[in-house]
């Protein structure tokens, strides 16, 4: 069960407007959208991780009754590429397929079933090529992409050379976690009379999708509209183009609405996943535990296309030193192209991997010095005025990290011995049979930026219209389930406590508010809505006409790092979190029970207490999954477990007990003092669990997810 300290009730308790229809099963997701006369598409995908496209024979498919058309690269003018940041990804395989599942063709038929059946009738001949599946191979063999092997390389260096009296080294590896949002990709595109196209979809970023579609279709934004329907979870997995371009091309060519829905096994292959990371750490300290120097190398497996590898690498590198005072830091990071599945954004965005690296290394140091692992962190955390260890950015008006640690440690982790099968290592499998259980505790401190940073200009727009006693909010911020609309509702009510609040459906008819990612929307769109609300409030109403006010909020400026050493004012601000985990391990079998987790998180301002708790619990669930189970295994680049049978996420029977404390240290950089909430719970929960497993077993635990054999067979 969970307990938590009293949350601020300044904003009152909220039932989000989208919640009641969701409970009743009346909420419409993009999967539910039906347009009369719509046709259905299905995607033919490369079965190879790396192969030359020899020929596509669509004749048999086209001969099937009910099949209308098959689209391939021939339907896309040359040179039109997709990509969230770098445009490096073809709409359909042109000459070489670079990952398993890469789209080769899109068939449109009268029904979804027919379209799937028609896939079998499309004959694609391939010449398989040797796949590049390791970082080593990527760096030594020929590039698998014309833009080269390195998506990004980053060097961060601060301080004078120093070594420290004691040095520990560690090599750490993280797996390939899938966002596993429950609603599989699904959308509808339909043509409009002006030669344009409209999509009803589920995306985290309406405008970035629109930009890419405009480029591929060669249409202006006024002719390409995107409307967000209900989104069934995202966690970073809906930031890239998956089905949008195929649908738009088909709808325009056929003059009809076209829908497609992905099956789970293809969904696993279609959207980018968390970057596997390969990290080497070298931490030097004085014998009293004061950190002196840190050297880190991080290699990220980006898959063949850039997606968001650039900023993910930035995040991994800038947070590779955690929130600690370290005078000398050198970080060398590379995001590398391989023929493994594409990597991109997932909750935590590089900071999860970095946290595992630094927090595991600190535990090694603590152990070597015989200093309590929490105490060693407490001594080294940043305080007001310190330079951030990597960027050198001044740590100012941020969370009091010592208090964060203390508040986490003050929470009592439930300590009663487990008696139920469900709670023993091995669980309902009843493998323990009375054998001994090893207990361990682990602690980890997490840090990540919220908002974009690295000099990316960042704005959000909102418009409020007052009609009588109702205020209509127009914001393109995507509601993925995280509760942004509930937050915006509350903010409107700070100025208009008596009004009803309604939301226009988010679409590209509204101006840019950026992605629902980087834990940024409460701050960005919240500030935009606040600005609009304040403007509206100050307008005097003299007639019966609806009044409206719009506001574009601009985030404080940030800068790309110095090209020689990566330092600078990189980020707008940071989020901080502490996790403490208790695990119970059957060391002979290597089976792990995550028994309890306590956490303290600085949430800036509690706007919606229920949703904050939900974000914390949800992130911890993903952290648990990543620590002990979640990895998309891709031997030779081919997914072995792209199904829910073998890609295991925690169920209700696997969740640990969770105890939560939240701190409210408002961020002075935005009018409401808001801090992002969504990501931190996933940033350090995995590291805390791994540290606990290491303590319980005495095994190196150098990778997550931890496998039974890492404990049972390791030396």
């Amino acid at each position: 069960m969970t307990t938590h300290s009293p949350f601020s009730t300044r904003f009152g308790t909220v039932i989000r407007p989208d919640v009641p229809p969701k409970i009743a099963g009346e909420f419409e997701y993009s999967n539910d959208v039906r347009i009369p006369g719509m046709l259905f598409g299905a995607t033919k995908r490369s079965p190879h991780a790396h192969a030359r496209l020899v020929a596509i024979d669509t004749s048999k498919a086209l001969a099937m009754s009910g099949v209308h058309r098959v689209f391939t690269h021939e339907d896309v003018p040359e040179g039109r590429l997709l990509g969230h940041i770098t445009h490096d990804q073809p709409v359909f395989v042109l000459d070489v397929a670079r990952h398993e599942g890469e789209p080769v063709a899109f068939v449109v038929a009268d029904s979804q079933e027919r379209a799937w059946q028609a896939l079998e009738a499309i004959d694609v001949s391939w010449q398989p090529l040797e796949p590049v599946t390791t970082i080593e191979d990527a760096l030594t063999k020929d590039p698998i992409h014309p833009q080269g092997t390195l998506i990004r390389e980053l060097l961060i260096e601060r301080g004078d050379d120093a070594v420290g009296e004691v040095v520990v080294t560690g090599t750490w590896e993280t797996g390939r976690q899938d966002q596993l949002f429950l609603a599989p990709e699904s959308a509808v595109a339909y043509p409009s009379a002006d030669g344009g196209v409209t999509l009803i979809l589920a995306t985290q970023d309406l405008h970035t999708d629109q930009q890419q579609l405009c480029a591929v279709l060669n249409l202006p934004p006024e002719k390409v509209h995107l409307i967000n329907s209900g989104i069934g979870g995202a966690f970073g997995g809906r930031e890239d183009i998956t089905l949008q371009a195929h649908l738009a091309i088909a709808a325009l060519a056929l003059g009809k609405p076209v829908k497609t829905t992905y099956r789970r096994s293809e969904s696993f292959l279609a959207h980018p996943k968390r970057h596997p990371a390969f990290m080497r750490y070298r931490l030097g300290a004085k014998s009293d535990g004061t950190f002196v120097s840190l050297e880190v190398s991080i290699d990220l497996d980006g898959g063949p296309y850039a997606s968001t590898s650039g900023p993910v690498l930035g995040s991994a590198c800038y947070f590779s030193a955690g929130p600690y005072r370290i005078p000398r830091v050198r970080v060398h990071g590379r995001a590398v192209r391989t023929n493994n599945p594409v990597s991109g954004a997932m909750r935590g965005f590089g900071a999860v991997q970095a946290c595992f690296g630094i927090e595991s290394t600190i535990d090694l140091l603590a152990s070597k010095l015989g200093i309590d692992p929490v105490e060693i962190r407490r001594r080294n955390v940043l305080v007001e005025g310190d330079p951030f260890p990597t960027s050198g950015q001044r740590f100012e008006d941020q969370t009091d990290l010592r208090e964060l640690i203390d508040r986490c440690m003050a929470l009592e982790l439930p300590s009663s011995p487990a008696t139920l099968d469900l709670d023993l290592p091995g669980g309902t499998g009843r493998t323990l049979m009375g054998s001994a259980v090893s207990r361990g505790e682990g602690f980890a401190l997490g840090v990540k930026n919220h908002l974009y940073g690295e000099g990316v200009p960042e704005t959000s727009w909102a418009k409020l219209t007052r009609e009588g006693n109702t205020i209509i909010v127009e914001s393109s911020a995507s509601e993925c389930g995280q509760g942004i609309q509930g937050v915006l509702d509350r903010i409107v009510r700070t100025e208009f406590p008596e009004c009803e609040v309604r939301f226009a459906v988010p679409s590209t008819w509204m101006q840019y508010s950026g992605s629902s990612s980087a834990s940024r929307q409460s701050w960005m769109s919240g500030s935009a809505v606040l600005g609009a609300a304040q403007k509206l409030k100050s307008q005097t109403s003299s007639g019966e006409e609806p009044e409206s006010a719009e506001f574009e909020y601009r985030a404080p400026a940030t800068y790309r790092g110095d090209p020689t050493n990566g330092t600078g004012d990189i980020h707008v601000s940071y989020m901080f979190v502490a996790h403490r985990a208790r695990v119970e391990v059957d060391t002979e079998l290597g089976l792990i029970r995550v028994a309890a987790i306590s956490t303290a998180q600085d949430v800036g301002r509690v706007i919606n207490a229920t949703e904050i708790r939900g974000q914390i619990l949800g992130g911890i669930a993903q952290g648990v999954g990543f620590a002990i189970n979640e990895h998309l295994d891709t031997p030779s680049g081919l997914a072995a477990n792209n199904s829910l049978t073998d890609y295991l996420v925690p169920t209700a029977a696997d969740m640990p007990l969770v105890v939560i404390d939240v701190l409210e240290q408002p961020d002075p950089r935005n009018p409401l003092g808001i801090k992002g909430v969504g990501e931190p719970s996933a940033v350090s929960s995995t590291a805390a669990i791994a540290n606990a497993i290491r303590q319980a077993t005495g095994k190196p635990i150098t990778r997550v997810p931890v496998r039974p054999s890492d404990i049972a067979l390791a030396n």
Binding site: M1, T2, I15, D18, V19, P20, K22, I23, A24, G25, F27, E28, Y29, N31, D32, R34, S111, Q112, E113, Q179, L180, F181, L182, A183, P184, I231, G232, G233, F235, R263, R264, L420, L422, D423, T428, C480, G481, Q482, G483, T610, E611, R613, G614, I616, L617, G618, G619, I620, A621, Q622, S643, L644, T645, V649, P650, T651, A652, A653, M655, V658
Partner: protein
């Protein structure tokens, strides 16, 4: 394709289905969207319905064996006290899993089994939620269980 006639949440409906079409797909193709499909393997519970009194994954049932069946979804199984509790306890974020959880929860509440934190966890273990971390859902079900027991005393 054949016609399948069954009762859905109390009303007669006619579905079109091939032999290989699951009840889930036949329902959704006909515009009945109270059951969702997140995996179509029986591993997530999003498609959970009650057929002739038996709670099961509708993705694993061919539509054509459901002729004359009585199919119930969240629409007929949800009670207001559970709806309120779900809302208050943060049991819903994206909501995609919610209708399935309602079916599982109402079945647990209707059973003679006494519900505790542990038995609720076990009963809901066949429904995946990716957003909430489950505790809000478990608490909501426990609260309703207690209230209904008290109301029956």
């Amino acid at each position: 394709m054949s016609s399948v006639r069954l009762r859905l949440d109390g009303s007669p409906v006619e579905l079109e289905a091939a032999s290989s079409t699951s009840l889930l797909r036949a329902l959704r193709d006909a515009g009945h969207t109270k059951a969702q499909g997140a995996c179509e393997q029986g591993e997530c519970g999003s498609c959970l319905v009650r057929i002739d009194g038996v709670v099961q994954n509708s993705c694993l049932v061919p539509a054509t064996i459901c002729e004359d069946a009585n199919v119930e979804t969240v629409a007929s199984l949800l009670n207001q006290d559970l709806a309120d509790a779900f809302a208050r306890h943060g049991a819903v974020q994206c909501g995609f899993c919610t209708p399935g959880f309602v079916v599982a929860a109402e079945a647990a509440l209707a059973s003679a089994e006494s519900l505790t934190y542990d038995t609720v966890r076990e009963r809901l273990a066949g429904n995946i939620c990716r957003c909430t971390g489950y505790h809000g859902i478990i608490e909501a079900v426990l609260e309703v269980s207690q209230r209904r027991r008290e109301a029956n005393q």
